[in-house]
Symmetry: C2
Subunit: 514 residues, 2 copies
């Protein structure tokens, strides 16, 4: 049952006079429930409670935090079809995709639970001698997480940011995304229930409804110690600027836009232009193009192979029916950005949808040459939706120039035969400086959740290229080291005690031991 | 021989018309050499050359970078007495201290060389399966390092920032501190010589003379990817703000002010008030108080034990002769800040020097009560020099209030018997949120260079509490992760190859292996 409430810790709250409703983009109508927009007072209460909870939560053992995370996953699964249907209604995403995303969100929670039970993530280091110095990672304090429009489950209320912050030992205050407040409420209720069942301190999790104003109040609140965000460049950059202008600047981990360039190398393109086109039509269209890793830029040498690729890509995209987009706003924005792209000089329209209703979108392809691309930075901007721009180069040198002109990206992909990949080491090196992940002979969509994943990249893909929002190392965003010098054994955290009661990996006098 | 030049890679350069001279605070006179202030063009040339060097340097093996760092240490030692005398003349620090600092700087270089030879610092992670994902840390690109006034060797031209950035694989452009340009030139020459002997790419190191204008040009240059700074809050914060306002914001690792609070607990104070006073007089006076870890705040329960402590502290400081400070500017500033502190309401002057010449300073002590301290934030500000403020509390609760009122600090120290330390866990916990290092029964001055050291702390002690400027983990400031997905073996860096040719520790499919 969705009631339109905020959660301040375990207490529901509806102080504000302002409300809003969710919108079902598939049915093209507003949903009935009214959601209470949090007041500035409620923002303050949630952070005050988070800070109080932090004093206890920072000392909760890894095993108990792991039980909490596992319990969240269990409570989310326990919501059953109500959650799946609500998330589908609020996002326009098919129930199958929502079920998959739910699995991903639960797996992330369990992955962090495993990380906590193993325990070595605290990067404990001990140097005996005089003085005796021991350090480990400790949580930063209350973290604000912004829900993401395109992942109502895996990057929102109980998504990777929340999971990694809670794992780190930081209480979380979520600002639910305005598009899916019901989903947010259901998942928030599940987290609160899990917190109560596993006896976590009240205030370890809060969840507020609202727009940029509530978001701004959360970011500016002096008790907030870090922010997690996934969304547009303009949104992420605005939050970052606000956070740096505070009396105490705080880190903002914003995963923003990316066009995820794909280089089709000559031999591969010659050998399989049609297969590549088919593979990439699927990737461009996946989730109606609403992934941060959507391949929005394809770069190849001009010629008949590329002509074939473009032709088949256009056919496959034209064959595909329109898809429901996340919201009327995103659908409108997709069409505007696409039209603006089509209107740039030097742009050839390769595939354009004939007709799309208000909330639907279909795949589109434009093409241009390297000269036009390099001279007009608008051509490198993201069109959020199922769109890709094909850039043709006259030779290897020009392809390298295109690579040099790229901004920071989440991913860069190379489609090539082994031999030609080895020959293009310099091109790959150039792209390595531009990206957080280099993919070979695959598609950028689909981000495996694992220890080695890096989902981030140089600005403007993210604010801080050192951190990832996917994978176990996402926990590093919400911790800082503390050193204890000549600390009596009784006051040392278990992680740093002489006899290593937790059995974790530690660097002792320079040697990794367990 | 000091010539007053800038180094743009291995090329000396003196394009600008403006010059300045160094000042000998011991002899109270200007030194003869004129130093050329770098022009904006020279700033651009140094970063352009750094970027070109980066393309090669990023691929230089750990072993070769280690040889480079070791060679720098050797070249610095090879400068012999000329360096020691010059650094002493430009800083007012005695030659014995300079020799000690030189040893520290060389040991830091060798510590990073060892880290590189061992190789596991790249945090390699491999997840086999579909897709196969492997990640490691790679260098950010050109780094700008600001020399620090109070450590002409260990935190300046070849100090910890430069050593860790070069170890990470980042070329460095140093802006030498204006107080010791001759020292900077000698050390820069040593680094250039080491780079040539070990065949590093030209541009891996540059060094420019100048003030805030040159610093600003370096920070704003689009090729600069990160900044290292040790100095005042106003200097560090200005650089940070400038860096965040760039089109591409970049990280600024600024280690700034700290008053390094010391809590004297009851039993310890009762048992050894005089010994504590003697110990702390030594720490307050060390290096004429010009350390970032100088104990500027001492907190204890009011009473006869504290009276004894204050009395003996004052005596010991008064017994001590004045010391030569780093520069007339710093000496003047010390006296101004001290006077301002003495003039605050509720301040008792416990010890004040009778007479100090223009460039000298002597130890001073003020005292106040917890009420005054908590209600006047000026009393928590750093007085850079041999000054400390003693705050008396009426009871444990008030001592906790003082702890709660503290800003972020590099260190917090507890002087206590084992039993009372165990009883004050909550106080220690509160201080843990405020500091980067917690010291028990010692003095904050003296920062051991080791794996477990954390020399950083919550804002305003540093900009980013996640990073340290001392110890091996300082290298983490200048790297970011990159993931390789389904990468052909031939293109994988050695660190990520199947057979682990470097023999480093890696997390493979979730298990730490070698």
């Amino acid at each position: 049952m969705v009631e339109g409430v905020n959660f301040i810790g375990k207490t529901t709250s509806c102080e504000g006079a302002q409300t809003f409703r969710a919108y079902d983009p598939q049915k093209n109508k507003e949903l009935s429930e009214q959601f209470s927009i949090a007041t500035r007072q409620e923002v303050g209460q949630s952070l005050q409670k988070a800070q109080e909870a932090f004093l206890a939560y920072r000392h909760v053992s890894g095993h108990r935090k792991a039980d909490f995370l596992d319990q969240i996953a269990e409570e989310i699964m326990g919501l059953g079809n109500e959650l799946v249907e609500r998330a589908s209604a609020e996002s326009g995403l098919p129930t199958g995709r929502i079920e998959g995303e739910r699995g991903r969100a639960c797996n992330q929670l369990k992955m962090f639970a495993d990380l906590l039970r193993e325990g070595s993530w605290v990067d404990a280091r001990i140097d005996k001698g005089e003085p005796d110095v021991r350090r480990m990672l400790v949580p930063l304090g209350p973290v604000v997480v912004f829900g993401a429009s395109n992942f109502p489950l895996a990057f929102s209320t109980a998504g990777g940011d929340t999971a990694s912050a809670l794992a780190a030992g930081c209480p979380v205050v979520v600002k639910g995304h305005e598009s899916h407040p019901g989903t947010n409420e259901l998942v928030s209720g599940a987290i609160i229930k899990a917190a109560q069942k596993t006896e976590m301190p009240d205030g370890v999790f809060s969840s507020l409804n609202g727009g940029p104003e509530v978001g701004g109040d959360l970011v500016r609140h002096p008790l907030t110690k870090a922010v997690g965000f996934t969304g547009s460049f303009s949104g992420g950059k605005a939050i970052f600027d606000m956070a740096q202008q505070r009396d105490e600047p705080i880190p903002v981990y914003a995963e923003m836009g990316s066009v995820n360039p794909v280089f089709l190398l000559d031999d591969k393109l010659a050998a399989s232009a049609e297969e590549l086109a088919e593979q990439y039509a699927g990737s461009v269209n996946l989730g109606v193009g609403q992934f941060c890793t959507n391949p929005g830029l394809i770069i190849a040498k001009e010629g008949s192979d590329l002509d074939t690729f473009k032709k088949v890509l256009a056919e496959k995209l034209n064959d595909n029916p329109t898809g429901c987009m996340l919201s009327p706003k995103i659908s409108k924005s997709y069409k505007q950005q696409r039209t603006r792209m089509f209107e740039q000089s030097g742009i050839e329209v390769v595939a354009a949808p004939e007709e799309e209703s208000q909330t639907r979108g279909a795949g589109a392809v434009a093409a241009t040459t390297a000269e036009y691309f390099i001279s007009n930075e608008k051509l490198g901007e993201e069109v959020f939706g199922p769109f890709t721009l094909v850039v043709s180069c006259s030779d290897d040198a020009q392809m390298h120039q295109v690579a040099n002109s790229l901004e920071g990206q989440l991913t860069v992909t190379f489609m090539g035969e082994d031999e030609e990949l080895a020959d293009r080491k310099l091109l790959i090196d150039t792209c390595r400086e531009k990206a957080g992940r280099i993919i070979f002979n695959g598609v950028p969509t689909g981000v495996r959740v694992c220890q080695a994943m890096h989902h981030g990249g140089p600005f403007p893909a993210t604010i801080d290229s050192k951190f990832t929002s996917v994978g176990t190392t996402a926990i590093e965003r919400f911790v800082r080291p503390v050193a204890f010098q000549d600390c009596p054994e009784i006051l040392l955290p278990d992680e740093l005690k002489d006899d290593n009661p937790l059995g974790i990996h530690r660097i002792v006098d320079g040697n990794l031991t367990r």
